[in-house]
C-alpha cells in the first residue's frame, strides 16, 4: 500500500513540474511578454512600445537569461507566493486569487454539503432494487438533469425562480455582503447536474454489487435485508462514488466558470473569465496553475481513498 501511494505522489509531482513548465513556456513567448512590458511601462499598446525600451525592460526583468534559468527563477517566485501583478486591476495576483478562491470555496462547501448525502442516498435506493419503480423514476430524472447544460439550467432557473416566482434575485453579485438568498441560484444550478451525475454513478455501482455472488451468499445465510444492504453492500458500492466525489473538486472548477459568469458571482471562475477576456496574462497563468494544483491534489486524494477503501490494495 505504501508503495502504491508513494508512486502516486511521485507521479503527481512530475505532472506538476511538467504542467508548470508548459505554462511557463506558453506565456514566455514574445507576444505575451510584450503585453506585460506595455502594462508595466505604462505605454498604450504594443505598437507604441519602442524596441529599445522593450529590450531594456527585458534585461531589467532578467528575462535575457537562458530558458531553464528563467523557469527556475519563475518557479522560485511562484513557490514564494509571488504570482505577478494583474494588468487589468494593478493588484497582486495572489491577492486576487485569495479573494476569489474563498468566494468559490463557500459555493463549493454548500455544493458538497448537499450533494453528498442526497446523491448517495438516492443512488443507493435506486441501485438496491434494479428495475423497481423507484429505480426507474430516479434514473429517468437523473438522465434528464445530466442532460441540461448549465447555461440552460441557469437560464431556466432564473426564469422560474427569479422571474416567475420572484423568490430569489436574478444575480448573485453580493454587493451588500454575503447573502444566502443570492447564493441559491448558482448553488442549485451546480447541484442539479452534479447530483444527477453522482446518482447515476452510485446507482450503477450499487446495482453491480447487489447482483454479485457475495450478496447472494449473505442473503442465503438468512441475514435480514437491511443488514445485507448496510453491512455487505454499501461498503463495496460506495468505493467508486467516494472517489468520484473527490474528483468532482476538479469538475467544480470548470462549472464555476459558467455559473459565476451567468450570475455575476465574484469567484474564481469569474476572475478567470474576466482575465481571459481582458488578456490579463499573469492572472490566467496563475489561475491555471492554481486550478491544476487543486485538480491534481483531488486526483491524488481520490486515488489514495481508492486504495484505502479497497482491502485488496490496502492489505497485500
Amino acid at each position: 500500500m505504501r508503495h502504491l501511494v508513494i508512486r502516486r505522489v511521485i507521479q503527481t509531482l512530475l505532472i506538476m513540474l511538467t504542467v508548470s513548465a508548459l505554462l511557463f513556456a506558453v506565456f514566455d513567448s514574445d507576444q505575451f511578454r510584450k503585453k506585460i512590458a506595455v502594462a508595466e511601462l505604462g505605454n498604450f499598446g504594443a505598437a507604441t512600445l519602442s524596441d529599445s525600451d522593450y529590450q531594456a525592460w527585458i534585461v531589467s526583468k532578467g528575462l535575457d537569461q537562458s530558458f531553464p534559468a528563467r523557469y527556475v527563477t519563475w518557479l522560485n517566485h511562484v513557490v514564494h507566493g509571488d504570482l505577478g501583478v494583474s494588468i487589468e486591476k494593478d493588484v497582486a495576483v495572489s491577492t486576487l486569487l485569495k479573494e476569489s478562491l474563498s468566494s468559490t470555496a463557500v459555493l463549493a462547501f454548500y455544493v458538497f454539503l448537499i450533494m453528498i448525502p442526497v446523491s448517495l442516498m438516492l443512488g443507493v435506493l435506486a441501485g438496491m432494487k434494479e428495475g423497481s419503480i423507484l429505480d426507474r423514476v430516479i434514473s429517468v430524472i437523473a438522465v434528464f438533469t445530466t442532460s441540461i447544460p448549465q447555461i440552460a439550467t441557469a437560464a431556466l432557473l432564473t426564469v422560474v425562480l427569479a422571474l416567475g416566482l420572484r423568490w430569489v434575485p436574478t444575480k448573485s453579485a453580493m454587493i451588500d455582503g454575503f447573502s444566502f438568498r443570492e447564493l441559491l441560484l448558482p448553488l442549485l444550478t451546480i447541484l442539479i447536474y452534479e447530483i444527477g451525475y453522482l446518482v447515476r454513478m452510485t446507482r450503477s455501482a450499487m446495482a453491480d454489487v447487489m447482483s454479485s455472488q457475495y450478496i447472494r451468499t449473505a442473503l442465503l445465510k438468512g441475514l435480514p435485508y437491511r443488514q445485507v444492504v448496510l453491512k455487505h453492500a454499501l461498503r463495496n458500492a460506495l468505493v467508486v462514488p467516494v472517489t468520484l466525489i473527490l474528483l468532482e473538486l476538479t469538475g467544480l472548477l470548470s462549472q464555476v466558470v459558467v455559473v459565476e459568469v451567468f450570475f455575476q458571482y465574484h469567484g474564481f471562475g469569474r476572475m478567470l473569465f474576466d482575465a481571459a477576456n481582458f488578456g490579463d496574462i499573469q492572472v490566467i497563468q496563475a489561475a491555471t496553475l492554481v486550478a491544476v494544483c487543486v485538480a491534481v491534489a483531488s486526483q491524488l486524494l481520490s486515488d489514495i481513498a481508492y486504495v484505502l477503501l479497497n482491502p485488496r490494495l490496502r492489505v497485500a
Binding site: G131, S212, Q213, Y214, R216, T217, A218, L219, L220, K221, G222, L223, P224, Q227, K231, H232, R235, N236, L309, N310, P311, R312, V315
Partner: protein, 688 residues
C-alpha cells in the same frame, strides 16, 4: 394432497421435491429450466445431481433456496422441507430457513465471499443472526469451526480478507460458514470445480467426513460422475431439466439403464484405459437450445436406440429398473435395449513414433521478477509423438508454452525446434517457416476466435498469412476443406463465433491450428472448458487430426484421465520444475514420484471396477515467488526426509529408459511403492 398436518417423524424426508417445475422468462418468451422434478432426500443421506451445463441442476438448488432472481419462477410442484412447504413461507420464515436449516456452498468461493469484510466478520454473523448469541460466543464458535474444516492458524484466518487466502482455503471458509448454524440440509453447487485436483481431493474428503460427523443431508451438484460416485449414496442424472435416471449410486453405476447415462460414462476417459484399449465415444448431436425441447424423450434426437413413433410421443414416464433400491429410468425402451452389448470395437490405432527429436528443451528457466515460473526444464519431444505436460495451476506449464510460441522469452536455457534455437526469439522475429511449423490450440473456446470476424475469414487469414495459398478461390476452397476435416458444415464459413457452441468453436480452433500443416501443435487445455460429452468428441478429433497429418502434439493439461488417454509420454510439473517424466504407462504405475502419486490418488474415479488408494496432500502450494529450498515439493510431501529434502535439490533417478524421477527417496523405496489403482476384485483395503 395435504401436507400441513403430517407429523414430523424420522421417516419424514428432510427434503422432498414433488413435480417441481421452474421457468425463466426472458426476452424470447418463457424457457422451462426444470420440468417435473422429483426428489426424496432422507436424513443423513447424500444425493448427487449430475448433468451437463444447462441441464437445470443449479436451478434446482436455487429453487430450494427460493432465490431465482427476477426472471425465474416456480411454475408448479412443491418443495417440502421436513414436511413443510417452502413455497408458502413468508419473508421472515424464509430467512429462518435460509442459513439456519438449509445452507449452500458455491462453485466460486472467491466470488461468494465479501471482499471487504474479514473472514471472521463474515463467519460470526451466522450464529449471531440465527441464534442471537453474543459476539464473543460467536467468535468462539467460528474459531472452533475453522478447526473442524481443518484450517490451521485460525486466528490469522479470522483476521484475513478473502483475497489473502488460496482457493482451497476460501472454499473451506464457505463450508465452515454453512456449517456454523448446523443446517439439516447442505446444497453443494459444484463446490470443487474451480479448484485444483489435489485441493479438490481435500475438500471432497472433508465433505464426506462432514456428512458422517454431523449427519447433514446433502444435495451434491456436479458434472463429474466420479465425484458423485465418491461422495453420494443416491444419484439423479439430469438431462434438459428432467431426471432421466435415479437410483442408488452403486446400482446406477453397475446397471446403467438410460442411454444418456451410458453416453456420459462412455465419454469420459478412465485412468485405467488409453486410446487403444478403450476409445472414447462422444454423444452424437448437441444439447437442444433452451426452449426447444424435443417432444417425447428429450434425449431422443441424440440417442442410438431411438425409435420413431415411440420415443417422440407424449411424456415418457420413469420406468422401474429395480424396485428394491428405487432405481428408475426415463426410457420407454428400458426393457428392450441390450444394455450389456459392448460398443463396436474400434480399429487399432498404431503409434508410429520416430525416435527423431523435434523439440528439445534443456535447462530452460524463466523468471518474472522474483517469480520463477520455469526452473531448469529439460525434456525431448519426438516426431509424431504426443507429449503431455501435466500439473496444477501455477506449475509453469503454460509459461513453457508461451516461451515455445515466442510470446515471452526465456531467462536462460534453450529450447529448439528442428535445431532452431527459439528460447530468445520472439515470434515477430521468427521466420515464416518456423511460425508455420509451430501452431497452438487454446483453452477457452469462448476466447479462441475473434468475435468480430466470420469463421471463414479467420481460417482464410491464417492460410493467407502463413502463405499456404495465394489465390482467393483456392484459399476459400482450403477453408471449406478444413471445415470438412473438423466435421463442421460448410455453411459455418459465413457464421460468426457467437452462433457456434463451445465444441464447435474448439473445432474451428483446431482447423485453424492445422491449416498450415504444422510440424508441432501445442494444445493448451483444449477440452477442459467443455462439457463431458463434447470433450470426448474434441479429444477424438485431435487424435484423428494428429494421426492424419503426422503432427507432433504437445498437450498441456491438468486432467490426468485425458492425459492417460491420449499421451505417449508424460512430463509431470510442480512449481516450475519437472518432478517426473517418462512413457505414459511408466508414469501411471509405480515407481511414482510422491507428487505423481498424490495427483493420481486425487482424481475422482467413475469406474466401478477401479479401487483407489487414499493419499492426501497436506498444506498449501507455496508461492512461486518464494519456492521452498531443496525439493520444491518437500513442504507437502508425506515421505519428506528432514535435513535432506528441504536442503538439497533432488537427484534425477532414472528407472526405465527415459523414465526419470526427481526425488531423494532411496531407489528401493520408490520401487516398493504400491499402485494407486487396483481392479476391484484384487484387494479390499482400498476405498471405493
Amino acid at each position: 394432497m395435504s401436507v400441513t398436518f403430517r407429523s414430523r417423524s424420522d421417516d419424514t424426508p428432510i427434503l422432498e421435491c414433488r413435480n417441481l417445475s421452474v421457468t425463466y422468462s426472458g426476452r424470447r418468451g418463457d424457457v422451462p429450466a426444470v420440468v417435473d422434478f422429483n426428489l426424496t432426500l432422507m436424513r443423513g443421506e447424500a444425493h448427487g445431481l449430475v448433468g451437463e451445463s444447462g441441464c437445470g441442476k443449479s436451478t434446482i438448488a436455487l429453487a430450494i433456496m427460493r432465490y431465482l432472481g427476477v426472471s425465474g419462477r416456480i411454475t408448479g410442484g412443491q418443495i417440502l422441507f421436513q414436511g413443510r412447504d417452502l413455497l408458502s413461507l413468508d419473508a421472515a420464515e424464509l430467512r429462518q430457513v435460509r442459513g439456519a436449516d438449509i445452507a449452500m456452498i458455491y462453485q466460486e468461493p472467491m466470488a461468494s465471499l465479501n471482499p471487504s469484510l474479514t473472514i471472521g466478520e463474515q463467519l460470526i454473523e451466522v450464529p449471531m443472526c440465527h441464534e442471537a448469541v453474543s459476539r464473543r460466543e460467536a467468535t468462539k464458535r467460528a474459531r472452533a469451526m475453522l478447526e473442524r474444516v481443518r484450517l490451521a492458524d485460525g486466528d490469522r484466518m479470522m483476521r484475513s480478507y478473502p483475497h489473502q487466502l488460496s482457493g482451497g482455503q476460501q472454499q473451506r471458509i464457505v463450508i465452515a460458514m454453512a456449517l456454523l448454524s448446523h443446517p439439516k440440509l447442505l446444497l453443494l453447487d459444484e463446490p470443487t470445480t474451480a479448484l485444483d485436483v489435489t485441493v479438490e481431493a481435500g475438500i471432497v474428503d472433508l465433505i464426506r467426513d462432514i456428512s458422517a460427523e454431523f449427519g447433514t443431508s446433502m444435495l451434491y451438484i456436479s458434472h463429474n460422475l466420479g465425484l458423485v460416485r465418491e461422495t453420494c449414496d443416491r444419484m439423479t442424472v439430469m438431462y434438459c431439466g428432467q431426471p432421466v435416471e435415479v437410483g442408488r449410486v452403486q446400482s446406477v453405476f453397475s446397471r446403467m439403464r438410460h442411454p444418456y447415462t451410458r453416453g456420459l460414462f462412455a465419454a469420459i476417459p478412465s485412468l485405467g484405459a488409453d486410446k487403444n484399449t478403450r476409445p472414447l465415444t462422444a454423444i452424437a448431436g448437441q444439447l437442444p437450445a433452451p426452449g426447444e425441447r424435443p417432444a417425447g424423450c428429450a434425449f431422443g434426437p441424440r440417442c442410438a436406440s431411438f425409435v420413431a413413433g415411440r420415443c417422440d410421443q407424449g411424456t415418457i414416464p420413469l420406468a422401474k429398473v429395480d424396485a428394491l433400491t428405487g432405481h428408475v429410468s426415463r426410457c420407454v425402451r428400458v426393457d428392450e435395449i441390450d444394455w450389456l452389448a459392448e460398443p463396436p470395437p474400434r480399429e487399432q490405432r498404431s503409434t508410429d513414433v520416430l525416435s527423431e527429436s523435434v523439440v528439445s528443451v534443456s535447462a530452460l528457466t524463466k523468471r518474472y521478477q522474483q517469480v520463477s515460473a520455469n526452473d531448469g526444464l529439460s525434456f525431448e519431444v519426438n516426431r509424431g509423438e504426443t507429449v503431455a505436460l501435466v500439473g496444477e495451476s501455477g506449475c509453469g506449464k503454460s509459461t513453457f508454452a508461451r516461451i515455445l510460441m515466442g510470446l515471452v522469452q526465456a531467462t536462460s536455457g534453450s529450447v529448439t525446434l528442428s535445431r532452431v534455437e527459439l528460447s530468445q526469439l520472439p515470434v515477430t522475429k521468427r521466420s515464416m517457416k518456423t511460425i508455420r511449423s509451430l501452431q497452438m490450440i487454446f483453452q477457452n473456446p469462448f476466447d479462441t476466435l475473434n468475435p468480430s470476424h466470420t469463421i471463414g475469414a479467420q481460417i482464410a487469414r491464417v492460410i493467407r498469412r502463413l502463405g499456404i495459398e495465394r489465390d482467393e478461390a483456392r484459399i476459400r476452397a482450403r477453408v471449406l476443406e478444413l471445415l470438412d476435416l473438423v466435421k463442421l458444415p460448410r455453411q459455418f464459413a459465413d457464421r460468426r463465433p457467437r452462433q457456434l457452441s463451445g465444441g464447435q468453436k474448439q473445432r474451428v480452433g483446431i482447423a485453424r491450428a492445422f491449416a498450415g500443416k504444422p510440424a508441432v501443435v501445442v494444445a493448451d487445455e483444449p477440452v477442459s472448458a467443455l462439457d463431458v460429452s463434447v470433450q470426448a468428441a474434441i479429444t477424438e478429433l485431435l487424435i484423428d487430426m494428429q494421426r492424419r497429418e503426422g503432427t507432433t502434439l504437445l498437450f498441456i493439461s491438468h486432467d490426468l484421465s485425458v492425459v492417460r488417454y491420449l499421451a505417449d509420454r508424460v512430463v509431470v510439473m510442480y512449481l516450475g520444475q519437472i518432478m517426473e517424466q517418462g512413457r505414459t504407462q511408466e508414469v501411471f504405475a509405480p515407481p511414482y514420484h510422491p507428487y505423481t502419486e498424490a495427483l493420481l490418488a486425487a482424481v475422482p474415479v467413475a469406474d466401478q471396477n477401479m479401487l483407489k488408494r487414499k493419499v492426501l496432500l497436506g498444506g498449501e502450494m507455496p508461492s512461486a515467488s518464494q519456492p521452498p529450498p531443496g525439493c520444491r515439493f518437500s513442504t507437502r510431501c508425506s515421505y519428506r526426509i528432514s535435513g535432506v529434502c528441504d536442503v538439497l535439490a533432488p537427484p534425477n533417478q532414472e528407472f526405465a529408459s527415459g523414465h526419470r524421477i526427481a526425488c531423494h527417496l532411496p531407489r528401493e523405496h520408490l520401487l516398493a511403492m504400491q499402485p494407486v489403482f487396483r481392479e476391484a476384485s484384487q484387494k479390499t483395503d482400498y476405498v471405493s
